[in-house]
């Protein structure tokens, strides 16, 4: 599989082409098994820094499984097994000496279904700080506010930080979960269909937020929604039956794909 040779970025209103020189995550010959069932085979991909990489494909194609490999979230599912390598800044995250807790602090995650803890809004965001050893109350307070602002939800919750997070609407809960993930200052943010359960307005807010966040984070997003992939991602990988069929700049995938199956999928002929 060929890797994209360059990156298109918009500077001062005009498109410039830059070489892809700054990989954040590299997966090499990655295989993944649920017990005996092979869910990913031979996945090789380079995910660039400070860009949004979209993963698309039909249900069960392995895109979520791949995403969950990037912070070793699959470790907590019994009977799973990984072969191959995933490098984060050149360091193998499946190496025996890798500290999974450290890894997950560097690679944050937002889930498909918003999953706030049954605690207050404040405690939801402060949780990650506390488990990572933050003690000073004033520092935690400042960080909580900054994260909520960053996730564009501060104005809506600033007067009720002590009330339960479960009382928020679905879209607010999801932005709270994003704030929670941002609080521990990850380098990479994984998003597993973050807007699939939300109405169009809430979805638009999340998408705007993703555009904001890519300045500071490397974002990998799984989505079922083709328009969303086209709107938010700089690069797109098309997964099918556990393999990457094609990976390229998003406009290439959507307008001029090299593989027939990619074209069939993005034009809605199957999937």
């Amino acid at each position: 599989m060929k890797l994209p040779a360059d990156v298109v970025s918009k500077k001062n209103g005009k498109h410039t082409i830059q070489p892809l020189s700054d990989p954040k995550i590299e997966a090499k010959d990655l295989d993944f098994f649920y017990s005996e069932k092979k869910a990913l085979s031979d996945v090789t991909i380079t995910i660039p820094s400070n860009r949004v990489t979209g993963l698309i494909g039909p249900s069960g194609c392995g895109k979520s499984t791949f995403l969950r490999c990037l912070n070793r979230m699959n470790d907590i599912i019994p009977g799973t097994r990984v072969q191959g390598k995933i490098l984060l800044d050149g360091q193998d995250i499946y190496a025996p000496d890798m500290d999974v807790v450290q890894l997950r602090c560097r690679v944050g995650m937002v889930f498909q279904k918003s999953n706030p803890f049954p605690k207050s809004i404040y405690d939801n965001v402060a949780y990650g700080l506390r488990v990572n050893g933050w003690k000073d109350r004033r520092e935690i307070e400042a960080k909580v506010e900054q994260s909520l602002r960053h996730a564009a939800i501060w104005e809506e919750v600033k007067d009720r930080l002590k009330s339960s997070a479960l009382d928020l609407s679905g879209g607010q809960q999801q932005r709270l979960c994003i704030a929670r993930a941002l609080a521990i200052q990850p380098e990479v943010l994984l998003m597993d269909e973050p807007a699939s359960a939300l109405d169009p307005i809430a979805t638009a807010r999340i998408e705007d937020l993703i555009q904001e966040l890519k300045k500071d984070y490397t974002i990998v997003i799984v989505t079922h929604n083709m328009q969303q992939a086209a709107r938010v991602s700089d690069f797109t990988a098309f997964f099918y039956l556990g393999q990457i069929i094609e990976f390229d700049r998003t406009e290439v995938i959507f307008t001029n794909p090299r593989q027939q199956r990619t074209e069939d999928y993005v034009t809605g002929r199957f999937g």
Partner: protein, 300 residues
Amino acid sequence: MRLLPKSFKANKRERGIELFLLFCASVSILTTLGIVAVLLFETVDFFREVSIVSFFTDTEWTPLFAQKRFGIWPLLIGTILISGIAMLVALPAGLLSSLYLSEYAPDRVRRVVKPVLEILAGIPTVVYGYFALLFVTPLLQKFLPGLSGFNALSPGIVMGIMILPLVSSLSEDAMQAVPRSLREGAYALGSTNLQVSFRIVIPAAFSGITASFILAVSRAIGETMIVAIAAGQQPRLTANPLVPIETMTAYIVQVSMGDTPVGTLEYKTIFVVGMMLFLSTLVLNVLSQRLRARFREVYR
């Protein structure tokens, strides 16, 4: 046209079956009501002869002696003492084992350990009673020379072991009901297994765990065989676990098995003590049920 009368007949049969099932269901309800009525009736009768004030203030319980005294406290304290010891064993051990089963144990281990734990619940309590009297007490006497043959400590510990599976099983159910998405959310924020257990799972399952604790206390209060066999039958107002005491349940056994004539004051004490037992377990069971209902609601 033939269909109508036929279905009418079927309807009648259905109705008959319904009434029969209703009758079956009422039997247990009526029995319960009957028991409560008898308890109430005899209790009122008892308090006609013994003042309710002395019942709750006297510190001695000697209805079977010539010098009759009717202070409930020795039996009450005996019950609380043994239940307390049982809880000191069952709660921490039960909670930790459920935490292990729910959050740490690999699937294979859980599949073996959980049924084995539940077998503990199937052992007849009379076996536990003799286990306490003939094995645990002599064993404890090696370390505690002051321990008498009958005491509160040994049956308390054994009762704790008996109740442990109840606590562990119900608490584990409560922990399993905590959605996996919450655990994943916590792991994704860089939590360790221990942090997920204590900061996410236990708080989220808290009402369920509390319900299992309360149910366990109510089991301990109502437990009869172990204490009747191994705790001695001497009503004594003491917090010392090393000497013989008597619980409410053990007293009822003692009097029912003796030859107390029907209608006497001694006979009525059975019902008064029974009433006390009934009230305390009733309150605890209602409390536990409320809590469990609440915890089911949270993750519908």
